[in-house]
């Protein structure tokens, strides 16, 4: 409940202040929100269904490269290019999801990693298409249909990202609070029992992985016109690591937590990288600290703190499946 309020308020504030923010901050914020979206997409798998993935970079990379190739080779208008990139990624995600969900636990994680590594290898193998280690540069931000071009500028593109993030958040919330989401909660808590109840848990897992890859690829697709270039590093396992860190530290199973985690990290990264080169270590250490000491993440801690302070009784109306942060 609170998550939605926080997001809504933040979105409004950011959109309102966008025109007056310095360009550098706006750029940073855009990147941060893209990563927040990326992290939220993983939360569907990790936080709500307990499907740990070490290869979510694949979703990001797929979205980024698909959009890049589509924009360059077909000259599609920007919004179409992004949507098409996502569509391509979703199609590719289906067999990936099908294979990975054959296993659970470590095997599942390894399979996701394998696909990401495979993607990385494929990029080098098919150099002519993908530019190999040089990646693809000079990606345009073409005007949209009907001559829409407000998003070609920094502020306009920022609005696009905010819109996509908010829309995705809304979509995820609807999913989570639906009967489908209730099933995910059951799978998370006791998959054997769910099968014994008659649920085809494999089908649900495939579905949630495809949705997660879809939203992750949306983040990648948004990144491409933002940065103007794509490179194989997008598929690298450390990217998967970073987004997993964002989810866990932000607060798995809360949707808003990972968004905050993503934003927080990008901001912190830019601040820290000016001061010291050690920031990746800091992140790794923070990650481990949270896993060991505060598995509910930043958002979980905040919620706990706020609840402890408020005397009013909590009555969460509605049919939300219990928070996964326990």
């Amino acid at each position: 409940m609170h998550g939605r309020i926080v997001l809504a308020v933040s979105a409004v504030v950011m959109c309102a202040t966008a025109p007056i923010l310095p360009a550098f901050t706006l750029t940073l914020l855009t990147e941060a929100l893209i990563f927040g979206l990326f992290a939220m997409s993983l939360d569907l798998m990790v936080g709500y269904t307990r499907l740990y993935s070490f290869g979510h970079a694949a979703a990001y990379g797929l979205g980024a490269y698909s959009t890049a190739l589509l924009l360059i080779h077909f000259g599609l208008p920007l919004p179409i290019g992004i949507l098409a990139g996502v569509a391509v990624s979703v199609v590719i995600a289906v067999p990936i999801a099908w294979v990975c969900t054959r296993s659970t636990g470590v095997s599942f994680a390894m399979l996701t990693l394998a696909f990401a590594q495979l993607g990385y290898a494929m990029l080098y193998r098919f150099k002519e298409f993908t530019g190999g280690s040089d990646g693809i540069g000079g990606i345009p931000r073409p005007a949209g249909p009907f001559g829409l071009d407000f998003f070609q500028g920094k502020i306009g593109y920022f609005y696009v990202v905010v819109f996509c993030l908010t829309a995705s958040f809304f979509l995820c919330t609807v999913l989570i609070t639906s009967p489908f989401g209730a099933v995910l909660a059951g799978i998370r808590e006791n998959e054997t029992k769910m099968r014994a109840l008659g649920y085809n848990t494999r089908a649900y897992k495939i579905a949630v992985v495809v949705v997660a890859y879809g939203l992750g690829s949306l983040a990648g697709a948004l990144y491409t016109p933002f940065a103007g270039f794509v490179a194989p590093e997008l598929f690298f396992w450390l990217v998967s690591g970073r987004v997993l860190i964002m989810v866990v530290v932000g607060g798995a199973g809360t949707l808003i937590g990972p968004i905050i985690g993503g934003v927080f990290f990008v901001m912190l990264e830019h601040q820290l990288s000016e001061v010291t080169e050690l920031w990746p270590l800091v992140f790794g250490a923070i990650f481990i600290a949270f896993v060991m000491l505060a598995p509910e993440g930043i958002w979980g801690l905040l919620t706990r703190y706020v609840r402890a302070m408020l005397p009013a009784p909590r009555g969460e109306a509605g049919q939300e499946a219990s928070s996964a942060a326990s």
Binding site: T104, G105, L111, L118, G241, V248, F287, V291
Partner: protein
């Protein structure tokens, strides 16, 4: 070129590959046997071994000390990590936490390596005494690779002897069967775990040092090798020492002959192998861990 000679040469190649893989798979297997977890950081530890080896060579001017120093350093790091962090997770029956923490370690190691040694691959020269080639069945074959086969075999034999013939080895085997019972008999099971974890890390590091003269020390060694190790452990059977030997040999052959005949797929070979195995046996061997 005659077929027999070719087969012999490639088979030896495969065995040398298997030797390196064994150093990783053995540690991974031992750790899984004792702790029922896959140490995801194993690949990064292998990588760390290679880089520490590089520095030792640079520092001492000789290859040989690195064979001792790298495993020692990395083994200690591993043991400390286990004692300080992993040990605390036993009470929490949460396999997710183990995955995360070892993953976190993998990340920290990878980033530390990049910071300390930079992003460029570093090469270690093959020591003088092991340079050159010998003729086997009229095929030239690098001496260094024979050396690897020797080291791998020696390690396998030593580990086997350790497990079967020594009291410490017996303890290790007992703990992997039934930790509670061993604990009830008065042994410090935690110490055994720390020791085995450290040993596994040390072996991985040794593998890294040995592989560095051939493939250089580079970022990204870790993520490839962990998948190899994982595949071997699945093939060989989780926690089975003999299985790790068989698996290493099998994978070594698949990698060498596979990349010869399917050159295009060389990079993707291992991932495809793993996909193939997990498609065929998705839960079978790993059912226990859940």
């Amino acid at each position: 070129m005659n077929v027999a000679g070719f087969l012999v040469a490639q088979s030896l190649n495969a065995l040398s590959q298997a030797a390196i893989l064994f150093f990783i798979a053995c540690g991974l297997t031992l750790i899984f046997g004792i702790m029922r977890i896959i140490n995801f950081a194993h690949g990064s530890l292998f990588m760390l071994g290679a880089y520490v080896g590089y520095s030792t060579v640079a520092w001492t001017g000789s290859f040989w000390p690195s064979l001792i120093i790298a495993p020692l350093v990395v083994g200690m790091i591993g043991g400390t990590f286990e004692k300080l962090l992993l040990a605390r997770l036993y009470a929490r029956r949460d396999s997710g936490a183990y995955l995360m923490v070892t993953f976190g370690l993998a990340i920290i190691l990878a980033e530390t390596i990049r910071l300390t040694w930079g992003p460029q691959p570093l090469s270690i020269p093959i020591p003088d005494r092991l340079r050159g080639i010998v003729l086997i069945s009229n095929q030239p074959f690098p001496i260094y690779r024979l050396f690897l086969i020797g080291m791998g075999s020696a390690a396998a034999v030593l580990t086997w002897q350790f497990l079967e013939r020594t009291r410490a080895g017996l303890l290790v085997r007992a703990v992997s069967q039934n930790a509670e019972m061993v604990h009830a008999l008065g042994t410090d099971v935690n110490a055994v775990r720390t020791g085995v974890f450290a040993l596994g890390c040390a072996m991985a590091a040794l593998g890294g040092v040995l592989s560095a003269p051939l493939m250089t020390a580079f970022l990204g060694m870790g993520s490839n090798v962990i998948i190899d190790g994982f595949v071997i452990v699945i093939i060989g059977g989780m926690g089975s020492f003999l299985g790790s030997i068989i698996g290493s040999v099998l994978v070594g052959f698949v990698q060498v002959f596979g990349s010869y005949y399917f050159e295009d797929l060389a990079l993707a070979m291992m991932y495809l192998l793993m996909l193939a195995i997990l498609i065929v046996r998705p839960g079978g061997m790993l059912g226990k861990e859940e």
